[in-house]
Structure formats: structure tokens, C-alpha cells
Symmetry: C2
Subunit: 477 residues, 2 copies
């Protein structure tokens, strides 16, 4: 009864997906709103997910030879303007500091929307010879982009992210880095977040301001909209020219280095929610769940139950992130509460379990209930963590496949676009005009040109001219 | 010869302490300057020290029940103005965002100089009952204060820090938290940074804007100037009144909660440099050194040397942060380089050592050279790490004690203030006028009212009226 009531507070996703999403982020206490337009408060539970994401990703960056640095949060206007395409892309959406220390500034400072310009300024100081290359830097920070409409995690004025910025001796090496880091991102999404991703390249229209090429990973949400989960950019030597960064090459001649950047943000938390969540709330992938196993004593007033539950919590904390709920609420209320917060496993222990030398494990993803002998607890928990992960990614793959359709004519494409959301695979000639036409006529945008191409037809779905690429189209966050 | 030359690039601290400091931060590659006035680039080596500081401190915060959150980086002007003393203290030194997304803002946003106001706004939303207390939150972020003169780490316009913000049911509990976190800070400085600290309370003049009381830890630098290494503030219920934060008490009546905040910043890295550094450069305490043991092969062209050095590096990486220098430079150059960068231990291995089944360990702090049998390497390294830590803190204590003097008259005090820098202990009546007079006549400010009081005299050193406190006075960063 109590359980039902708690869950009823969350709008069902079939009724209103956007409201379901907002209910989940609020009721699971991931965020709070603030009086700062478009900015959110990351509450302990939400921030703990981000800390786990950071820890794993940071380890992957370090394992691939990257070092962390920290750049200033301000960019002087003149510095932002050095690379023409970059400033054109970002200037409309930046916040400007115009006063400081009680005085009007001579030059406006923008709050960083991304830090290519600052990294370039620094790289100019420290790169002199081919021996100084590659430079493989990353920073964890927050950035600001003046978004008109905002939604928690998905699009906020300020967000947390990491931005990798690297410099290389050759174009080939920089392209390899761009691809390698996209691979790191895809591995992370699939192996840690249980989110399957599509890997590909953005069209010219959708690429990053100032980049030669933008690679991306796209994920399919419950509602059939795609979400760009990470991007990796290859810049060529464009910024190096703009910032006059040269190094003495192996041939003793001055050369321009080749550059990449790549980023992932707190929007990953939005992706987790919309990939795995259900009408009872959050469902967290074990690798990043702040609490992997929540111990809930049953009949905790009975002698020894609380002590046993506490002892179990201590014991399992050696190999998983465990917590215990010793609050005054009923077990039923607690069950619903921790399900709503997406805890992967619940461990129940009561007097009868104690008699039998067992406990009950309940999976969040399937709600399956298992009676597990205490001596086999570690193996059971570790196995279930893997199974939950595997089940989550399998379900997400299934959703993605079910929502992926091919179109070889505009009629087909428009019919698909008017149906259930999802990816529409269609051939494209490469012209911006056709890309714009699909947006106008079918309300869909290019998600990416996938690395794995399949020749659906040899004609552009829009204009009928020779096709150059298979493109995944869809609606996106 | 090479070694000499490298070291000569660093100005000696006796010649020019400020220049010595700047040389060290630049040559050890801790920072780079940027075109953003008063902001610095934290380079990989400098940031790695900060990461180690973060890791240890964050563990201590979590062990004492604190949770991390993230608040917006902007504070609307109306929010900053809610607490009168607070805004008076901070308004003159903030940066204002006045334009965003191409438009002039209706209300200015200040870039956070500290986040009491944002935490209060959030606490108002989430604190309703005594059951919601205490709230023990912390955040890691950067803040901006518009400083006129800046110096790397010590005073920069933007700096990285953590800020703890807690709310409690009773004043006693909040005061206990304020003291507890000061204790955590002192433990961290002494046990991780090998920096001995003086614990005390700030005078009214020196306390934090809006606080009822500010506790602090002060450290003594090589040049006899004090450095405030951390502060912990007790706010009473002042902000709670200003922000109208109330909760239903155990007596069912609405009550105002009691608040604390506490912070430590990247200036700790400045404290490390000026506490332990010498004329050869940095000396890093083992607990936060990015590299604890640098392996340098000697005669690395000889067969098997590089392989052996590499194997040793892998082996010791199991229990310490180790790195290896396989570069083309001479061993002498490498020795000087890693000494300059403050690596606590150097491990040399050459053909003769290999024959004898030993290696050479060289301490950075004493330059002592030890021949260590390879089978006893782990014990030797772990013992030496402890000994280096103990020696560093002992040397720092000695410097502090040598520079601490007592004065019972103004003549004595002025004579001491005109001599070598250090702490001057003197009694104080508690009047602001006397505090101002000491600044004017002797150029010293109150560092703190130490928790450990000693009655030097019963008269104020300045006015001769009855003394209320022993105060440590001095020059400070």
C-alpha cells in the first residue's frame, strides 16, 4: 500500500515521458533547482554517480597516458577570437564577465564554454620540439553555455565535464588519438554504464565549431530519441596556425602540430536514467551505483536482527559499495524507496533467514528474489552484479534494435518519422541541402555517419543523386 | 657541472625569497602563466600534487560522515545580498557576469567567491525537520576573488578549493563540527604535508565575513612569514535567519539551524614549497608527492641495466608511486632534475649494483645515500618514506620554534618585528584599536588567538589595560 503510493508519485513514462524524467531526477534526489536560471544543484546521490563516472574514466585516461591539468575558467575575448570558426560557433552562447573588483573591465572575459583556446595558448609556451610531443592533457571542470531551454543533466547552462586536449607531431597520430578516445568512451558506456552506443562521424553541419572532423557515440533512449553521449574532435593544424604554435621537427624545420579534443559530461547521468529507468524510478548500472547493495533488516525489532544486518553490511563492504537502512520506516517503504533510487541489489535479512543461515537478494532490474546461503554470499553478489549489467545492456540493445528502421524513399522515411521514435537509416548524398530538407520535412536530424556502413541503396533518400554515406537519422536530446 | 648549472637557475632563497619561490614553481613545472590576469595554469606536476591532496582530504571528509555535492558557479546578486556582513565582505572582490547569450542580463550574476548563499538556498528547500539534520556537505570546485596583486598558489584570482557547509540542530553541535574540521585540517597538514600548524581563533577583525567565529591553522614559512593553511567558521544561526531556514524541532516548534563552513585551497601547495623547499628546488612530503621514487639507471647503455631498472620500477610500483627516467640526459642531469622537482627518493641502479644485488637510494631531504640490498628494498623504501616525513616535520618545527618570540612591551615587540620574521607572542586586551596600532607601529597582524594560551603578562602589550588573550602576531601571506 505504502509502496504503491510512493511509486504513484512518479508519472508513468507512457503517460508523459518528460514528466517521468523530471519526477525521477527530483524524487531520487539527484538534483535540486536553484535560483540561478538553468543551473542545477547536484545533490549527494547525483554527485556520487558522477564521482564514480569520474573515477573510472580518469583511470582509463591515465592508463592511455593522459595527464590532468587545470586551466583558468575565464577566456579573454581576444583569445576566444583567434580561431574564426570556433568563435562563431561559441560566441552566441557564452556568459561575459564585464566587471571585477568594483571596476568595469577593459576587456570582457568569457566564462569558458570549452577550453581549446586556453590549451592552445599554453601549448604555444611549452611545445618547442618534436621531443615535446605528444602532449596528452585532460581537465575536469565545469563549463557554461547560455542555453535557452534547459533540462536537468541533459542541457544545463553550467555542466560538469572532462575535456581532453592533445597535440601531436603528425596528422595520422592525431587522428588515431581521436579514434582511440572515442573507443575509450564507447568502452566506458558499454562496460560501465551498460549503454550500447553507435559509433560514427558527425556531418559537416553537426560537427564541433573549428573541428575538421567530429566523431561521436550516440545512445538510444527509452522514448526513441537519441542522445549524444560523447564526442571526439580532430582539428588538423587549424588552431595551431591560428595560435602560431610551431615546433622544430625531426628535419629541423618548424612545423605545426595536430590537435584533438574530446569530452563527456554530466549528461551521461541523463542517459543512464533514460536508458535503464522504469516506472518505479531509477535503475542504476552496478559499476556507477553509489550503493550497489542496500541491506534492509526485516522485523528489525526482533533480537539480533539489526546486529546481523549490520554485520552483513560490514562484511560485504569488503567487495562492494554497501549501505544499510536502519530507519523507522516499514520494510515495504524501504523496499520501494531504494528501488526508486535504483539500487541494483537489495539484501533482506530477518529472523527466519537467520535461522536458515540465508538472506534474500532482490534484483532491481528484474525484481527477481533469490534465497542465498550466507556462506555463498560473495559469489552470489558478484555474479548478480555481472548479470544485472548484462541484462541492462541487453535490454537497451533490444530497445535500440527494435527502434531502428531503414528507409530508401522519402515516403518511407516520412512515414517512419511520423511513427514511433527511433533511428532511421537512410542513404545520403552528402549535401547540406538534403540534410536540411530531412529536418524540415520529417523533423529529424543526422545523428551520425556510422563507422559500420551498409549500402541500403546507391541513391540519396532525399534527392536521388548518388549516395555517399549511410546516415542514422532521428530526433535527439 | 651540469647539475650545478641547473641548480644555478634557481635564485637562492637567501638572496631573494620571492624570486626563489617563483623560480621553483616555474622550473619544477607546477604552473604556467596565462593571458588571464591573476589566473594560473596548473600543469600536470602541480595538478598531481593537488589530486593527492584531494584524495586524502576527501577520504577524511567521507570518514567523518560528509557527502559531496555541486552547487552552481553563479550567484544572483539578490541572493548574495541576503546576509549583510557577508555581502559587505565579498562584494568588493567579486567578478560580475552581466551579459549572457548575447543579451544584457536583468540581474547580475557573481562568479562564486564562496558558496554559503547557495548552500543556504538549497538547505531551505531540504531541511524541514530535526530528522533532516545534520546536513554535512562538501564541494570541490574553483572560486574567484578579484585580487589586486597575485602570486602563484598563494593568491590568485581563481583558485581550487573545497568548501564544507554544514547545518546542525544545536549551536553546541555546530561548534563541535567547526572544531572537529579544524582538527581534520591540522591532522592532514601534519600527517600528510609534514607541516606543523598552530591552531587558534581569529580576532573579530580577521574573521570571515558573516561568521560568528573563525578558527584557523597557521603555518610558518622558511622566510618567517605565516601562512593561513585552513579555516573553519561557525556562523551561529545568522544565515539561517537571513535565508529563513527553519525546521520543526523535537518540541514541534519551528527553529533555526546552526551552521558551519570550512575550506582549504591550492595555496597548500604554496605552503609545501615554502615549508620544505631548498635552494635546489622543491622538496615534497612523500604522502602527496606525485612520484615518490624516481628510478634512474646508471650506465644505461650497459647490457641489462635498462631492463633491470624497468623491472625494479614495476616491482616497487606495487607499494609506492614510482617512475623511471630513461631519457637521453646524463645521470647527473637527471639527479639534479628530479631533486629540483622534489622527488622524495631516487633509486639508482647500475652494473656494479647489479653485480652486488643492491641499489642506491638517495634521500631528497638530507641527500643521504644508502646502499640497499634488493631483497630488503620494500622495507627500506617504506622506512625511508616515514623518516623523510618525520625529518621534514621536525625541521619545520625547528624553524617555527626558532622564529617564535615573546614580547611583553611595545619596545620589545617593535624590536622583534624589526628583526627576523617570525611569530611574536604578546598579550592583547581584545580592542580593535590595539590590533590596528600593532599593524601601524610594527607592521604585524594578529595571526590567531591560539587554543593553547599562556599568560605572558596580565597587561595588553599595546595599551597596558588588562589582557584578555595571548595572540600570535606576525607578517603573513
Amino acid at each position: 500500500m505504502e509502496q504503491k503510493k510512493l511509486v504513484e508519485e512518479i508519472t508513468s513514462m507512457e503517460e508523459d515521458f518528460a514528466k517521468w524524467y523530471t519526477d525521477v531526477v527530483k524524487k531520487a534526489e539527484l538534483i535540486d533547482y536553484s535560483s540561478v536560471r538553468g543551473c542545477m544543484v547536484l545533490r549527494p546521490y547525483g554527485y556520487a554517480i558522477w564521482e564514480n563516472i569520474q573515477k573510472i574514466l580518469d583511470g582509463m585516461f591515465k592508463a592511455t597516458g593522459h595527464q590532468n591539468v587545470y586551466m583558468p575558467m575565464f577566456i579573454p575575448e581576444s583569445l576566444l577570437q583567434k580561431e574564426k570558426d570556433h568563435v562563431e560557433g561559441f560566441a552566441p552562447e557564452v556568459a561575459w564577465v564585464t566587471e571585477g573588483g568594483g571596476q568595469k573591465l577593459e576587456e570582457r572575459l568569457c566564462v569558458r564554454p570549452t577550453s581549446e583556446t586556453l590549451f592552445c595558448e599554453h601549448y604555444k609556451n611549452i611545445i618547442h620540439s618534436y621531443r615535446d610531443l605528444p602532449k596528452l592533457y585532460n581537465q575536469w571542470c565545469s563549463v557554461v553555455r547560455w542555453e535557452k531551454t534547459t533540462r536537468p543533466f541533459l542541457r544545463t547552462m553550467e555542466f560538469l565535464w572532462q575535456e581532453g586536449h592533445t597535440m601531436h607531431e603528425t596528422a595520422a597520430e592525431a587522428i588515431a588519438e581521436t579514434e582511440r578516445m572515442l573507443g575509450v568512451y564507447a568502452d566506458f558506456c558499454e562496460n560501465s554504464l551498460a549503454i550500447p552506443v553507435l559509433r560514427g562521424k558527425k556531418t559537416e553541419k553537426e560537427k564541433f565549431a573549428g573541428a575538421e572532423a567530429t566523431y561521436c557515440i550516440e545512445a538510444m533512449m527509452h522514448d526513441g530519441k537519441a542522445l549524444q553521449a560523447g564526442t571526439s574532435h580532430y582539428f588538423g593544424d587549424g588552431f595551431a596556425h591560428a595560435f602560431d604554435i610551431t615546433f622544430q621537427g625531426r628535419d629541423n624545420k618548424p612545423q605545426y602540430p595536430f590537435q584533438t579534443s574530446w569530452g563527456m559530461t554530466t549528461r551521461l547521468i541523463g542517459a543512464i536514467i533514460m536508458t535503464h529507468g522504469d516506472n518505479s524510478g531509477l535503475v542504476l548500472p552496478p559499476a556507477v551505483a553509489p550503493v550497489q547493495v542496500m541491506v534492509v533488516p526485516v522485523a528489525q525489532h526482533k533480537p539480533g536482527v539489526t546486529e546481523k544486518a549490520q554485520a552483513l553490511k560490514e562484511e560485504i563492504s569488503a567487495y562492494c559499495r554497501a549501505d544499510i537502512d536502519l530507519g523507522d520506516n516499514s520494510p515495504g517503504w524501504k523496499f520501494a524507496q531504494h528501488e526508486m533510487r535504483g539500487v541494483p541489489l537489495r539484501l533482506e535479512i530477518g529472523p527466519k533467514d537467520m535461522e536458515k543461515g540465508q538472506c534474500v537478494l532482490v534484483r532491481r532490474d528484474t525484481r527477481e528474489k533469490l534465497f542465498v546461503p550466507l556462506e555463498g554470499l560473495r559469489e552470489a553478489i558478484e555474479r548478480l552484479m555481472r548479470e544485472i549489467h548484462d541484462n541492462l545492456i541487453a535490454r537497451a540493445r533490444e530497445n535500440c534494435e527494435r527502434r531502428t528502421h531503414a528507409a530508401v524513399s522519402m515516403e518511407e522515411l516520412i512515414a517512419l518519422a511520423n511513427g514511433e521514435n527511433g533511428y532511421i537509416k537512410a542513404m545520403w548524398c552528402g549535401d547540406r541541402a538534403c540534410e536540411d530538407a530531412l529536418k524540415e520535412k520529417a523533423g529529424i536530424t543526422s545523428r551520425c555517419i556510422p563507422f559500420e556502413q551498409e549500402p541500403l541503396s546507391d541513391r540519396c533518400v532525399c534527392c536521388g543523386k548518388p549516395a555517399r554515406h549511410l546516415v542514422y537519422w532521428g530526433k535527439a536530446y
